[in-house]
Symmetry: D3
Amino acid sequence: MSERFDRGVAAINDLGGGYEAIFEPMADIAPDLSRFVAEFAFGDLYTRPGLEPPERQLLTIAALVALGGVEAQLKFHIGAALNVGVPPAKVVETIYHCLAYTGFPRTVNAMRIAKSVLADRGLLPV
Amino acid sequence: MSERFDRGVAAINDLGGGYEAIFEPMADIAPDLSRFVAEFAFGDLYTRPGLEPPERQLLTIAALVALGGVEAQLKFHIGAALNVGVPPAKVVETIYHCLAYTGFPRTVNAMRIAKSVLADRGLLPV
Amino acid sequence: MSERFDRGVAAINDLGGGYEAIFEPMADIAPDLSRFVAEFAFGDLYTRPGLEPPERQLLTIAALVALGGVEAQLKFHIGAALNVGVPPAKVVETIYHCLAYTGFPRTVNAMRIAKSVLADRGLLPV
Amino acid sequence: MSERFDRGVAAINDLGGGYEAIFEPMADIAPDLSRFVAEFAFGDLYTRPGLEPPERQLLTIAALVALGGVEAQLKFHIGAALNVGVPPAKVVETIYHCLAYTGFPRTVNAMRIAKSVLADRGLLPV
Amino acid sequence: MSERFDRGVAAINDLGGGYEAIFEPMADIAPDLSRFVAEFAFGDLYTRPGLEPPERQLLTIAALVALGGVEAQLKFHIGAALNVGVPPAKVVETIYHCLAYTGFPRTVNAMRIAKSVLADRGLLPV
Amino acid sequence: MSERFDRGVAAINDLGGGYEAIFEPMADIAPDLSRFVAEFAFGDLYTRPGLEPPERQLLTIAALVALGGVEAQLKFHIGAALNVGVPPAKVVETIYHCLAYTGFPRTVNAMRIAKSVLADRGLLPV
């Protein structure tokens, strides 16, 4: 694979894993989709200078809350935020912040996902 | 007005102004809407501990890129990000980051708005 | 044309006109689109029993605020709400109500459109 | 708690309950989120004059259908609509009305949620 | 029923069935919703000249990927695409194509639905 | 630049140009954004086998109609569709098709953009 791919996989590994659960199912239908995730989303974008991984995780959470309907991705990226050292309270605060821009339903749904991730790790109460 | 209102207005002022252009037009139709912005969006949410104003501005930009169709708000919050000390390159990087989550059209549109804000302030090229 | 078409056009006329400005441009590219609006949106749906035109206008406004990016339709339907007797304050209140579900940006943008419609009719301040 | 909080809780109780199922899970992760729902969504917005609770429930349903991906909230607000005296047929008619603005998929999904709420209460067929 | 209805039902049947699973539940709550699907979505729109059923299925998949939160409809229309002769690889390629416009989360979610449909039919690996 | 870049630029050129108007403004703020469009959107995705350029243009239009708020991109891709030999009537039919999935407002707005593109090329009436 390319240097972009290796760089992207390294970035994904730095986020602490769990990605396989999302992308392994792509192996027999769309293997290039996992490759694009590694090469483009992580190799090209995520590893750019100017933002640190914890910052990128919070931005990702904000974008996903606004997008709606992307529970699996929210779950992965909240977990990854914790893995790169974002304190649970800061994840929670990021979701609160979205309230003004996306309204209560999307925000409440995101907070419930955050709760499930934090509960699985024994990090409740925040 | 309430302490929440005063706290919110102070937070808005700390972002460097320009807000009047968005909310003054509400005076003769929905004055409580401006009040709710000050009291709730800024007084209750924005001034919570746990995230600093520069971080909140980047989160806001990410949420607005994902939301789409909110050009006036993107323009205001990109300007406010600069006002609270976010370097132009970091605003740009935040928009790049959204590419993976929201696709090219929303991202390109947001970057064009960022360009107009930066151009108005003589901050180009980044 | 069909009975559905005639019923739909009558419903549109009852809303007070202005629809031509949206659909006349369709005549040389997609005339069936205007026909579907008349037959389906108005002839089939709008004229069903169980909700009165003023109620339908308020529901339409709420759906359009949540949808985002549909300024021309918001403008038409706010005007139509006024035409069927909805008081300006109730249009405004409907937009306020959306704040909890769609966040500030979409709501503020909708209120600005409401303001332009009310201003054009000399109905400000509310 | 504040007068806004008490007023909001009273408004929620007037909708007939069931809210705890959505917000109790927030107690150990984001207790202020439930507080903001009570204070802002219900205390500030819902209790404003100009729209009655049954009207607000129908508007809420229309906004949620358009928003998409907010099944838990649709379920709660359809139930609340019934609790404040909206006839089942009017809930159904509100969802039909959204067809013109949000297309078939979002509308059909909303109707299926309405069906589950009505079935649980023995209110089918409508 | 009308000629439009019969034409629509024939078009649905040509897609290979499975539609009953979505619309049968509407019988006791909103029977006209199924009728509108047959009459309008299929009788009026789907059977228009200018696009063949396989093309329409691919367009539908692209629109549903972009819409988000419409899993049941994606599942039906991916199955229908296969039923009208679209090769599995072309369904997959359509979802890949959406990556540029809708970002990774919506695309990955759609690909997982495609995988479940293809797996049920023993069509994996593609 | 890379082979991916060259392949992408060639694909863009095959679409008949006009892209510069969208991406030239990125030169002094986010030059990598144009590069990613060329490398990823066109070099990686667009040139994959399995779908021909005319098919890809129709899929793109459907996704953009559903996305909403992306007028500049709709304008470019409708023009590009014509450039690669899609008959005007087929562009129009693609937008009609979206009516069932995205509702009238997004569809009508897209048809108005199609009209402006077709009018500029003297292709009306369709």
